[in-house]
Symmetry: C2
């Protein structure tokens, strides 16, 4: 039995698909980056490199009311989270909000209630520094699509990368899809 | 240099005064408990014991839109938090939201921005289980008015009780007012 910390964007909520949908709606002629071609974790940074640059649009979309509330689900996430909890693991959502958006935190919380159910509300941890979260004496994993997570503390968790095109060259344990959780996370918990 | 985790309600935001003000507004003839006579951490529980009971009113007030946003400041908290940060400590707000209120989380976050400043937004940690927060290799304190904080983990922090009438009989390190932080927290950090 262990502690499973699960990132929200890119792991249970499909930030990348949501962003691509919004960019597609806006202007069909402007360049867009297909999900398989995303190479930099920060979408904003990669859209700064297209011609003409669209990073201001990316910023505007991420900071607009309704964006986080409207993200689709990552397939299999809800089922896997419930299976992990049923298997006796302590499962928490662990999410780092935008620093400068009034919508981000309430919409992320609302998303969890709407998509995973209100029983997950007490299991949300909101923090900009994920290295501060863990439990001594319990095996811990952090499932997150962001490579190289650092912070103030030496983390208590093992980072398992949730697969995305922009993290495919990173080393370390990797969860390619939620169906694989028992094989990948099971031995670590 | 250490990690200071600072609870929000009853430590920087004056939940008790806010609640008493709302109860006073509602009905001048109904019983109310002065702050010095609060004996149980849960206001709801103590208001269940007055005659006639007012715990339903307490519940309604706590769950109403605007309650958390409108709380007054605990005197000296803002100054002390800034002084701790200037002294080189890592200071985070660490708050456990209501499980069943759509207003609590966004209003707590809004309160921090409005009263402490937007620079504190990245330093908010929202979690129902505070034992999961800490940093190995750093001295840690949790300043909290709630006695007997437990959770999944053996905590990395020393609990320093922030004084209130309802916790006056508890043992352990105690911060009586924010002006005392250098003497009480300094040696622990």
């Amino acid at each position: 039995m262990g502690l499973a910390l699960i990132d929200q964007d890119g792991v249970v909520a499909d930030f990348e698909q949501g962003l691509l949908d919004k960019l597609s709606e806006r202007n069909d002629d402007a360049p867009r980056i297909e999900l398989a071609d995303r190479r930099i974790f920060s979408a904003r940074e990669q859209y700064e490199q297209v011609s003409p640059p669209r990073h201001d649009e990316v910023d505007a979309i991420m900071h607009a009311e309704g964006f986080y509330a409207g993200l689709p689900e990552i397939p299999g996430a809800k089922k896997a989270l419930n299976q992990m909890a049923e298997a006796g693991h302590e499962v928490f959502l662990c999410t780092a909000p935008l620093k400068d958006s009034p919508w981000c935190i309430p919409e992320k919380v609302g998303w969890v209630v709407a998509h995973l159910g209100p029983e997950w509300l007490p299991r949300i941890i909101i923090t900009r520094d994920k290295t501060l979260i863990g439990a001594r004496h319990l095996p811990c994993v952090l499932v997150d699509d962001r490579p190289g997570i650092t912070g103030l503390a030496e983390p208590l968790w093992t980072h398992v990368l949730f697969h995305a095109a922009y993290n495919q060259r990173e080393d370390g344990p990797r969860l390619s899809c939620w169906e694989d959780w028992p094989d990948v996370l099971g031995p670590l918990l």
